[in-house]
Each structure stands twice: as C-alpha cells, then as structure tokens.
C-alpha cells in the first residue's frame, strides 16, 4: 500500500517564457483601456479649447461679462459673443429643476426605503427606471407639443393673480404664447433628473443603520421624527452629492431644453419668458453659426459648459465618496 505511484517527473520551476509575457501583455492592454478615460477627458479639453481659441481671443473678457450674442455683422460692426445670458439661462433652468426635483426625489427615496409596501415598491422602482430610460428628446417632444401649450393657461392665471405684487410680479411676468420658456424647460428637466437624485438618495438612506432607526423609535419618535432625527443627519453628505449630480445633469441637458425654452438671448427675472442655456444654444445654432468665428464661439460655450460640469461632477463624486466611506465605516 505504500508504493509511490508514477508521477510525471517534477518539471523545473523556472519554465517561464510565453506564459509570463502574455500576462504582462494582458495587464498592459487593460491598463491602457483604463487610462483611456483620462486620455479622453484631456483630449476633450485640448481639442475644444483649440477650436474655441479664435472666438475667445476675439471676444476677450466680454465673453463672460457681456449679455449679448450677435453672431452677425450689423451695420459694419463685428459680431458680439457674450455668454452671460446663457449662463443666466442655465442657472435659472437648473434652479427651477432642482426646486421641483429635489423634494420629489427625496420623497420617492423615503417612500422606497421607509414607507412602501413591498409590492408597491417594485412597481415604483420600475416606473422610475422607465422614467430614466425615456430618451430626453421624447420629453422634449412632449414638452413642446403638449406641456407648453397646456401650461400657458396656468402661467396666464399666475401672472394675472400675482403680476401686481412687487417682487413676485416680476418673477411671474407675461408668458410666451407658445408656453416655451425657463419655467417649462425647468420643469421638463426636473422630470429628467428625478431618477438620478432618487437612486443616489435611496442608496444613502438604505445604509442608515437599523440600530439608529430603532433607537429613535424606542424614544417614542413618530415616523417623521425618526426620519428627521436618524435618517437625514446620517445621509446629509450623500444627499448633497446627489443634488450636485442632479445639478450637473440639469446644466448639461440639451435637446429637451432646446425644444422647450423658446430660444431668446435675454436676462430677465420673468420665469415665463423665453431664454437659452449654454447647451441649448449650441444645439440650436450649430448648423447655422453666423459669420466667423461663430462656430468657434459656440465651441467656446461648450468649453465653458464642460468646465462648469466637470467641476460640479468632480465635487459631487468626492462628496458622495466621502459619505460612502463614512457610512461604510459606521455600519462595519
């Protein structure tokens, strides 16, 4: 029973060769694929900045301080490229979108984590997924054909009721007859950023330790008091990150805004007036950019938008990751 059976004679342990090389090749290829992300981001900046340069040089500081955008020669005067109106439009639309989307998203996230009966939960999740998968151009189509015209009556009513009050009156001014303007665009964008804010806040809420919630309930808290005392403080960082990501999306949303904002270059407090955002003005005018360096000027708007959204998304990613680390630390 103790015979030593024939084993193939032990091979030398040093048989390297092709095998080890293939390992190195594979890791190099995968590293290259990973680094591609960094390369693309750098390339975006380099190539767009290069094309934007003529317009930036032409417009100078006026590019960010002037509110007027005249891409034509008027009476011998050259074109004017001032992005301020579009920065204003982007800001207004994003703020409107956040005002609508943030409470609703937090509500949905609370519903999904705290309130929903199991069966309803999956239905609501499906609806939100559906919302996330409808292309933005379809929302734009719906906005321009259905929502805008329908909202004009509401806008008119609000204008009639509030138009004479000093501050509110200027916000709720005369609407455009088609209903296209900051408000309509803002509301459409709100719908489109609900899924991303919801999904992140929901993840954050889900990581609140059960012990904290139980502790609040044990003190006799109602559900709302529990949410305020245990869920919100714990998830504050993550919620901020979610809102910032939503803001980034809102600022970059293009086609739905282009269809519903009414395309006007102006700075006005009137939320029902037509305007333009950085993204929408590029999409609307790229096919017909005016006299040179018109196209370069539109690309310059893109560079501005890129810079703003990268900063916001970078900050959001950092905030979410911090919150993530802290929560994992807390629950581990």
């Amino acid at each position: 029973m103790t015979q030593i059976t024939d084993r193939p004679p032990a091979q030398p342990l040093t048989a390297r060769g092709r095998g080890a090389a293939s390992d190195r090749a594979f890791s190099a290829v995968s590293l290259a694929a990973g680094a591609l992300v960094l390369a693309i981001l750098v390339l975006i900046l380099v190539t767009t900045l290069r094309e934007a340069w003529p317009a930036l040089k032409y417009a100078g500081l006026g590019f960010v301080t002037s509110p007027s955008w005249v891409p034509l020669e008027v009476d011998g005067a050259g074109p004017v490229y001032g992005a301020l109106s579009f920065v204003y439009g982007t800001t207004v639309v994003s703020i409107i979108a956040l005002i609508f989307a943030v409470p609703i998203s937090i509500g949905i996230a609370l519903f999904l984590t705290e309130l929903a009966p199991t069966r309803l939960r999956s239905t609501v999740v499906t609806v939100i997924d559906l919302l996330a998968s409808i292309p933005s151009v379809v929302f734009g189509l719906w906005g321009i054909i259905v929502v805008g015209p329908a909202l004009v009556k509401v806008y008119n009513g609000l204008h009639g009721a509030l138009g004479d009050i000093p501050v509110l009156g200027s916000l709720f001014g005369e609407p455009v007859s088609s209903g296209r303007g900051f408000m309509t665009a803002g509301m459409i964008v709100a719908i489109m950023i609900i899924p991303i804010i919801t999904s992140i806040t929901r993840e954050v809420f889900a990581t609140v330790p059960d012990a904290d919630k139980q502790a609040a309930y044990a003190l006799g808290a109602t559900q709302w008091e529990m949410i305020r005392g245990a869920v919100f403080p714990h998830s504050f960082g993550g919620m901020v990150g979610a809102v910032m990501l939503g803001l980034g999306r809102a600022m970059g949303e293009t086609i739905a805004v282009a269809l519903t904002i009414g395309a006007a270059t102006q700075i006005t407090p009137n939320l029902f007036a037509a305007g333009n955002t950085l993204a929408s003005v590029i999409a609307l005018n790229f096919g017909d950019p005016g006299v040179p360096p018109g196209r370069s000027a539109l690309i310059a708007l893109g560079v501005l938008l890129f810079a703003i959204t990268v900063v916001i998304n970078y900050a959001a990613a950092v905030v979410v990751r911090r919150a993530d680390v802290r929560m994992k630390g807390a629950s581990a």
Partner: protein
Amino acid sequence: MTTTVQAAQQPLSAPSGLGRGSLATRRRLANTLVRTGIWLSVIIAVVPVALVMYYVIAKGAKMISWDFLTKPIPRQLANPGGGIGPAIAGTLLMTGLASLLAIPLGVLGAIYLNEYGKQNALARSVRLMSNVMTGVPSIVMGLFIYTAVVLTTEQSGLAGALALACLMLPVVIRSSEEMLRLVPDELRQASLALGARKWRTIVTVVLPAAVSGIASGALLGVARAAGETAPIVLVVGLTQRVNWHLSGSNTALPVQIYRNATEPFEAATDRAWGAALTLVVIVLLATLISRLIANRFAIKER
C-alpha cells in the same frame, strides 16, 4: 452615533412645556403631513411618465406601418408621407458600432480597476474620472468629436458612433467594475492555485462569473446611447436615404424626432410621434432584456 440619538430626542423634548394633548396632536399632524407629502411625490413622478407614455403610444401608434418604418425621409418635412427608414438604420448602425467599441474597452478598463490597479493612485483617479466623465454633457461630447474627428474628416456615422462610444465608455466601466467586485476572491484563488495565469483566471473564471451582470449593465448603456440626440445632431449631418456605410452623412431616430418636432406642421408632428414610439420601443426592449439578464444573474448568485 451620539449626535444622531440626540437629534432624535430634540423634537420629543422641545415642546415639553405644552400640554400632553396638544403635543400629541401637533406631532401626529406633522407626521401625517409628511407621509402625505411622500405619497404625493410618488404620484407627481408617476404622472408625467404615464402621460408621456400615453402620448407616445396614442399619437405614435397610428403612424406605425411597414412603409413608415422603411421608407426614405421626405425632403420637405411639412409634407405628409415618407418614413423613417434611414433613421432606424442609422440608429442601429451607430449604436451597434459604439457598443462594439465601448463594451470591450469598458470591460477591459473595469478589469484594470478591479483586478490590477485596485486602490493604487492611477486606478483611483481613473475611477473618479469615469464618474466625472459620466457627467460630461452629451453635447460637449458631440463638440469633442466634432473638433477631433469631423473637422479633419467629414460628418459621418463613424463620428456619431465615436461620440456614442465616448458616452457609453464610463457607464460600462462603472457597471462592469461593480459586477467584477461581486465575484468572490475564492474563485480567483482556486484558479491561481491550479496553476492558471492571472489573465487566464480573469478570462476563464472571473469574467464568466460576472458575465450576465456585465451584459446587463452594458445593455443599459446601449439603451441610453440609442436615445442620445445632441451629439448626433452635431456630428453625423443629415441624409434622406439609408446609409449603411460608416462614411458619409447619416441620421438617427432622435435626430428625426428633434427635427420634426421643431417644424410647425401636422405631418411633421405626426412623424415625430411615430419616430418617438419606435425609439421608445427599441430603448425599452434593450432595458427589458437587460433586466431579464440581471434577474437570471441574481438567481444564479444564490
């Protein structure tokens, strides 16, 4: 932890000067209000989805016919007739090519992050930057391809596919890394202990174990890309005829929806709804298949 408990105490102890009854009523009222608000927010979110779907189906369905899906696009959008055949072809061509580019590269990138780089400086910055890249507006990606590709070549389906691939890449990387992370380390060790090289372990053990999750995530990315409009508008140009070539002007469903939506004619609006229904069906099919694959994965995990 301690601050949390204190915070929870505050609302309880603050109104201690008030009578018991009024305190209970106020608290109950606040609670009811908030619960109502939460339900309301769900309803507010459901309504637009329902409305959009209703309009797309109601107005789009009557447009759908074989002719509509296959005929060339009319030169004058104001005139009735014609179809969206070239747009469907363009969408399939561009999303197809974009997937062929972005999915393998994205999966490889995810392999780098999860299997090689892990927590080193490069991997951490790639991870952070792909999060940032996910947030780069699609119109900017369009401008990038315009300045980097179109200016030196021409407006083409290839340029469109490249733009879509750039948009998909970070999405695929992130979702694939998530899935690779779920593969238990024991499997890698088992394979390595059998004398497998790392790359063979990754290709023959790790990837197959994560394949349905990766496929599901990638398909979601494909669905997103199929609905992208802004970059396509900038870089592919326009055509009325089916163009299966990567060179030369092309078009896509979202572009046709956009163009028809801006025309104030009924024929154009109808065409827009018909194209919207077609696009939504394609996107939802991709999403549904992705869900099915993901569910199968979930069961196998258990």
